[in-house]
Amino acid sequence: MDLQTLGQLLNTTLVFSTALIFAALGGIFSERSGVVNIGLEGLMMFGAFAAAVGGYYAQDAGMGAWAPWVGVLCAMAVGVIGSLIHAVASITFKADQTISGTVINFLAAGSTLYMVKLFFEGAGETPLIEGFRKVSIPWLSDIPVIGNGIFNSYPTTYLAIILVIVIYFVLFKTPFGLRLRAVGEHPSAADTLGVNVKRMRYIGVMLSGLLAGIGGATITLTTTGTFAHNTISGQGFIAIAAMIFGKWNPVGAFGAAVFFGFSQAIRNYVQLFEWSRSIPQEFIFMIPYVLTIIVLVSAVGRSSAPKALGEPYDPSKR
């Protein structure tokens, strides 16, 4: 494997990781505020659908290179609306959070395809749109391997990497982040100190919808170009795994997402390795998942979820 292929592998890895990074960051906001979000899959579906439809109409209206950004905006909006269903059920009506997250997955799978058929005369998928183009960053993209690998990528990939740093800062270095985490660790203590628990949790869940929406949009706008029933197929669940793997920390989740992205990318390149031809392809496909379990067993140890995760907050039970 030469250096150029290595750069390409790195590039593909980041492209596949991008959606996972967004969704995992979204999951962190929700779960740090104490609300389990099993609905990331559905929220990504909402986002992917909205981006495909929004991008299509924006392209139709002649917005050219701005059309994908319109798609992203639509995805953000629809993701937030979708997450509100989860928020209302689990925060206001104190429903089991796992259940209301599952509801999101169901409603998303049903309603997006229903709307695709409604908008596009019974078609099973949205029309193909152009999506984002790769942007090379001058100077930096000339560096060997890394230049082609990192600095010649989609704008969404850059955005995801920047957001990891920003969200890390927001969560751990700002009063807002402290309050959000407090609400997820010990809501009644936070309440005593004057933090509005319900409001913080609403914000956490809505941010998760926003980010997972962008994650879904990334898939239609960079990888597939359309939205169909199998566009998301398990990415949301992988994002949940990345979030847990990364211990609810943006940087950790980023690492895990890149790991999963790498494992998806390696499939495209595995034929290049001489030694791999004797191994059945199924075993190569299995590697990332087996490796995840091995890493969890050997290194990471007990996962440290926010303490109040999954508990509806009831002020009268203090």
Binding site: A89, L107, G110, L113, Y114, L118, F283, M286, I293, L296
Partner: protein
């Protein structure tokens, strides 16, 4: 006290019933927004399910794996775990049944069929047991392990089928001679693929109920599910209960796999992606309030709706995906019971003044 009990008892079925009605209403509203006729659509749905003996039999066939996976998810839930891995457990169960069914095909049927079924249950149970073991020993979140195990199961099954059981030139296994079909019922239902799996599923539900509520072991399991710390303090072995609960949960899912390959298809396909049994199982478990009787009823409802949805699209041109909106809404209203109670409040106040909602 007695009166209070009575209210809770009625409540436990009124809320789901109202939630179902509200779910259908949401579906109707969505259809109206899309410019469809909800009455025509719903009647086409029910006509599809009850219209002919064949369709009714096929609807029953559709319900069977839902019963198993619903029970699997519900059982884990009762023991305090979230089993997202029913999908992988079904696949492993399928593969075990196929493997035994083809490799031991020389055995007489009365031995071969039970062997294949037992193999499926054991394999599914052990697959889920891995997640249970890792949780018990290392505290690793079962959500992440079961997701990973789903993918591993998919590729492992494909590997086994492709390398040991492949029908030359096809993307599926050879035909399995062992069969769970019920020839006498198949005749009555116009060759609908009804099979013994349905009866096994009902037995599994009975086992679920008796085990959890009538045995000491089941009591421990529920205790661990409700509060592992308290259970530990009371001297129960939490880890062992976690592994056992996951094993039983996975065994239910594995049996679903046996039903599908031995009763319905008589071969196993190479799947490109997860077949989605586990995903439906979660919905069924939640619809059924994680109670075995509820799960059976929920599987019947869910099976009817998904099977009937195809009729809806033929009869009224409504996209069959609509049914997921209906199911999602029903689960939503069951979960957020506050909303249902709020809708019911005026009725309650008229009947029982003393009931505080």
């Amino acid at each position: 006290m007695h009166r209070l009990k009575k209210i809770f008892a009625t409540d436990s079925y009124i809320v789901p019933l109202v939630a179902i009605v509200m779910g259908f209403l949401v579906g109707a509203v969505v259809m109206l927004i899309g410019g469809y006729d909800p009455i025509a659509a719903y009647s086409a749905l029910f006509k599809r399910v009850f219209g002919s003996p064949y369709d009714f039999g096929e609807a029953v066939r559709e319900m069977t794996p839902l019963m198993f996976t619903g029970l699997a998810v519900a059982f884990a839930f009762r023991s305090g775990m979230f089993n997202i891995g029913a999908d992988g457990q079904v696949l492993i169960g399928m593969t075990a049944a196929t493997l035994v069914g083809i490799k031991l095909s020389g055995l007489p049927a009365f031995l071969l069929v039970p062997l294949a079924v037992i193999a499926a249950g054991l394999a599914g149970g052990m697959w889920a047991g891995i997640a249970g073991y890792l949780k018990a020993k290392r505290g690793i979140n079962e959500v992440i392990t079961t997701i990973m195990l789903n993918w591993i199961a998919l590729y492992l099954s494909n590997y086994i089928i492709r390398n040991f059981l492949l029908l030359q030139g096809q993307n599926r296994s050879q035909d399995i001679p062992a069969s769970l079909s019920m020839p006498f019922l198949n005749d009555i239902f116009d060759n609908a693929r009804i099979h013994w799996g349905t009866a096994i599923a009902l037995c599994a539900a009975l086992f679920f109920y008796v085990y959890l509520w009538k045995t000491k072991q089941g009591y421990e399991m529920r205790a661990v599910g409700l509060n592992p710390n308290a259970a530990e303090y009371a001297g129960m072995n939490v880890g062992r209960n976690v592994v056992k609960a996951m094993f039983i949960s996975g065994a239910f899912a594995g049996l679903a796999g046996a039903g599908e390959v031995l009763g319905v298809f008589h071969y196993q396909s190479i799947f490109a992606a997860s077949p989605g049994y586990g995903f439906n199982g979660i919905a069924v478990a939640l619809l059924g309030l994680t109670h075995p009787l509820g799960v059976i009823l929920a599987a019947i409802l869910y099976g009817m709706l998904t099977y009937g949805a195809a009729g809806m699209s033929f009869g009224a041109d409504v996209p069959p995906e609509l049914i997921r909106i209906v199911i999602g809404s029903i689960i939503f209203f069951i979960a957020a019971q506050g909303i249902v109670r709020w809708v019911l409040k005026p009725f309650y106040l008229k009947r029982k003044k003393e009931k505080v909602l």
